[in-house]
């Protein structure tokens, strides 16, 4: 049933239907509305979870790690500095192969302090072993939680997952969202069955240290699981479509790409603006399309190559920057890698950092720049710094 709701509340509803047994939460803008909503559900006996008000994000994810190891489905949410504080635990959760799911209401990282949106926070954890999926709108943000749990907990995968949705732009925006019913979610997402757990009846040691004789193989196993996750995400997306009629089976999604000469590649909510800009440009006869990346980890390199095979120019929008790489963002660098040797011209545009608006006219300007061969640059800077 469609209802008009705030993005954070839609996500909280989705999380409730996933029946997390332990939630560990710490407030940070713009994520806070999610954990507030969950606390209210627990207080009203609508959600039967152990809710731990931890003293930091570092402890939030550490508590999730412990609860997951003991055999519970767990949940947390964070943003920005909170995710940065979790950095050490993030690598640990992935290394221990615990299927933790966490919502990231994407926000920039200080300094300077900024509460506003970009995607530097989750992108900075790209090498941590967490799957990362990005939502374009609140319907997708909601639905990706069900898919994330299903794939994370698959015994062939056992990797944690970030469900990323843009802070404020999605988290604080009211949109019509179809939140499924509990029975429908139960039919899609089975109850949590840990691969192994801390149990006095069957003692195991978890989180042992590895010498150079063994360490590399643990990392290799994570890489292999990440490869398998590509198929698992497609499968879970297809099954979701069968159950709910919304298709998330593809890790990338084209929009008016069939006959496009120029393709814009982007992650997250900006894709909505890009689609509107494309419609306008199409109206004036320009052959522009969008390739939206839903899954950033695992990275769908082959699908990107296939989808962009017929375009001549690619403009990548990055709401993050890999400082020191020239004007390169993580997505741009990886798209260039995926298209290496194809002869397709790829230009990267760092834009929308720290919550700066990116409008339809900016997308049109970036398209002009790409088609005239100008790129690998910051777009939308104040003139006094140029």
């Amino acid at each position: 049933m469609l209802k008009i709701t705030e993005g954070s509340h839609a996500v909280a509803e989705a999380v409730k239907f996933c029946r997390p047994e332990v939630i560990a939460a710490y407030p940070i803008t713009p994520q806070t509305h999610i954990v507030e909503a969950l606390a209210e559900m627990v207080a009203n006996c609508e959600l039967d979870s152990e809710y731990i008000c931890v003293e930091s994000e570092f402890s939030a994810l550490s508590a999730c790690l412990g609860a997951s190891a003991a055999g519970s489905r767990v949940y947390s949410a964070t943003s920005s500095q909170g995710l940065a504080l979790m950095f050490e635990v993030c690598f640990n959760v992935a290394g221990m192969r615990l299927p933790v799911v966490m919502s990231i209401a994407n926000r920039s990282l200080g300094a300077p302090l900024s509460i506003w949106n970009d995607q530097q926070d989750s992108i900075s954890l790209r090498d941590s072993g967490w799957m990362q999926v990005y939502a374009e709108d609140n319907q997708e943000a909601t639905d990706l939680h069900f898919i994330a749990y299903k794939v994370a907990e698959d015994h062939d995968i056992l990797l944690p997952a970030f469900v990323c949705f843009d802070g404020f732009i999605l988290s604080h925006t009211y949109e019509p969202v179809d939140v499924p019913a509990q029975e429908e979610v139960d039919a899609y997402l089975p109850s949590f069955k840990p691969y192994q757990r801390l149990d006095a009846a069957d003692p195991i040691s978890m989180g042992m240290y590895a010498t150079p004789d063994y360490y590399m193989e643990f990392r290799y196993e994570i890489s292999r699981a990440m490869e398998r996750a590509k198929e698992a995400l497609k499968r879970a997306g297809r099954e979701f479509d069968e159950e709910f009629g919304r298709d998330y089976s593809a890790p990338v999604e084209g929009y008016r790409l069939e006959d496009a000469d120029t393709a814009i590649v982007a992650l997250g909510s900006i894709c909505g603006t890009v689609k509107d800009a494309i419609d306008e440009m199409r109206g004036s006869g320009r052959k522009v399309g969008l390739l939206k990346i839903r899954s950033f980890r695992p990275f769908p390199d082959k699908e990107i190559l296939k989808a962009l095979d017929d375009v001549s120019t690619v403009a990548v929008l990055d709401k993050n920057v890999s400082l020191g790489s020239g004007a390169g963002g993580a997505l741009g660098l990886e798209v260039k890698d995926a298209l290496y040797g194809s002869g397709i011209e790829v230009k990267d545009y760092i834009t929308g950092l720290g919550g700066r608006d990116v409008r339809k006219r900016d997308i049109a300007n970036i398209t002009d720049l790409a088609e005239s061969g100008k790129g690998d640059m910051y777009y939308g800077l104040r003139e006094e710094v140029l």
Binding site: S56, A70, L198, S205, A210
Partner: protein, 295 residues
Amino acid sequence: MVDKSLELFDPGHRACGGCGPALAARLILKGAGRETIVVSSTGCMEVFSTPYPETAWRVPWIHSLFENASAVASGVEASLKKQGRSEKVVCICGDGATFDIGILCISGAFERGHDITYICYDNEAYMNTGIQRSAATPYDASTTTSPAGACSFGNKLPKKDMPGILAAHGAPYVATASIAYPADLMQKVERAVNTPGPCYLQVHTPCCTGWGFDGSKTIGLSKLAIETGLWVNFEMVDGEVTKAKKVVRKPVEDYLKMQKRFRHLFKPVLQKDEIAKIQAIADSNAEKYGIDIRV
């Protein structure tokens, strides 16, 4: 009563001969029993007991990071509660993980009142990384980051009062123990794990490598720490000291002179003033906990 004849910490691990913490691990598990989940911090004990694919632990055991054992334990406890399971959750962590880097997580876990027992094996420095000073290092001990030298007698600061800090959090049971008194140690562990709420136990565990003494003298040295008043075995219930081990005190020199970390107080010249300051610490402990047996 837990069956204390059970051996739940296996031999064959990689600890030094005469390692105090290894003996503590064995005694702690005897006191806690088989129905226990152990959460360890990074440190000597984690490293000597679990080189993949070997483990010394016969109970479920988890290690995550240096500073987060009590937060991990919070999650384990919450999960067990939700599942209706009855295992006891016991953190076993070194003094660096407890006094220094992990204190935020410990404070949070104790404030929230999780039903966990946090045991610090206190060997009074960062031994795993090569004997660096921690907030548990005693006054004048020479470590690799507080070395004695021409213008230094070693660590300039007193030991942090962790039991007092955790008692102030409202912990129902806080105690100190020593591997020199195994029956007392096991009994305190058993009491802690059977007391609802967060309990804290600090166990004195001499480190032959870090303190510089022969591995055959570990127990004797532990006893001397108690007999000089430099370590006090006590119990606090609801913030009040209810019991402390009484002794006929010996001079602190008896304890100090056995250890290389205090050698600079005796050679090349006897540092009477410094030893007097350490004697004053022992006297103050004796006064605070009322441990003196007058003869």
